[in-house]
């Protein structure tokens, strides 16, 4: 062992749940940890796209950076052959089974990534302002309308961002980055009432 052991950052890491529990609603913007969801990464050739949507229960959006929703489920366009199929509160296994059955023989890839990320809601009249302290995209309603979703960055982490209402944004972030994102959002919220 090195005689100068690297014991790393002196800062204790506060778990996400503790951060979320300590967060107070604000006039300008509030943060909320979203409950668990099934998330499937779907990739495929043209032939697989229709059947995948049919099996999931909603047509996969073909317009770039848009999501489609039906009931609680949503399909997020992330790339020209890439979607995240999102089913809050559901277990991934039956979903995988259904989809794989529908996609048998069609060139595709379906990977369960339910546990890979966590969801954070940023809501309130200043939500876009708060998000713009780390996200470089234009979040004006005309540039980032309700129904839009995309991978992007927030400070030094990657996120998937979508807008479900004028004042509500949802972030999907890989779980190990979530405390960092949360703390930056809290910092960004300061002074917004």
């Amino acid at each position: 062992m090195s005689d100068t052991p690297n014991t790393g950052t002196p800062y204790p890491i506060v778990p996400l749940e503790a951060l979320a529990a300590a967060s107070r609603p604000g006039v300008g913007a509030s943060l909320r940890l979203l409950p668990a969801a099934a998330r499937l990464a779907f990739r495929g050739r043209e032939a697989a796209i229709g059947p995948a949507g049919a099996a999931f229960g909603l047509e996969l959006p073909r317009t770039a950076c848009r999501f489609a929703a039906a009931g609680t489920r949503a399909a997020l366009w992330l790339g020209p052959d890439e979607w995240i199929l999102l089913a809050p509160g559901e277990s991934p296994a039956p979903l995988v089974e259904t989809l794989e059955a529908a996609l048998a023989g069609l060139p595709h890839a379906l990977v369960d990534v339910s546990s890979r990320s966590v969801g954070i809601e940023v809501s309130g009249p200043r939500a876009a302002f708060v998000l713009n302290q780390g996200c470089p995209l234009d979040l004006a309603l005309e540039a980032f309308p309700v129904g839009m979703c995309t991978r992007t960055v927030f400070a030094k982490a990657e996120i998937v961002l979508r807008r479900t209402a004028t004042d509500i944004f949802l972030i999907d972030v890989w779980r190990s980055f979530a405390p960092y994102i949360w703390q930056l959002l809290e910092e960004a919220r300061r002074g917004t009432g």
Partner: protein, 96 residues
């Protein structure tokens, strides 16, 4: 921070992208058929032009796709962007 026109997602800020070096340097179909010098040229020789440069970018923090662009390396303005697999467009006039 450049503003880059992803062929799939539209204009997005540079920090969502990863630069991929000179475009249209195809990996030889049979590398073993190449001489050492030919292989070294494939690996290392670059046009590095002062002017219009065909180059690869990946929208890594976006749609994840690689695509190609022609950019003027003097002004840093893009002339055009196009999808991987498409050939380099004719670009005489500089666009904004």
């Amino acid at each position: 921070m450049l503003l880059i026109d992803c062929p799939y997602c539209g204009l997005r800020p540079e920090i969502e992208f990863r630069y991929g070096g000179e475009a249209h340097i195809a990996r030889p179909a049979d590398p073993s058929a190449l001489s050492d010098q030919e292989w070294a040229d494939f690996l290392y020789a670059r046009t590095n032009p002062k002017g219009k440069h065909a180059e690869r970018w990946r929208h890594i923090h976006g749609c994840g796709r690689y695509f190609n662009a022609v950019r003027d390396t003097v002004s840093d303005f893009f002339v055009t962007t196009y999808r991987t697999g498409e050939s380099r467009p004719e670009t005489e006039e500089s666009a904004r």
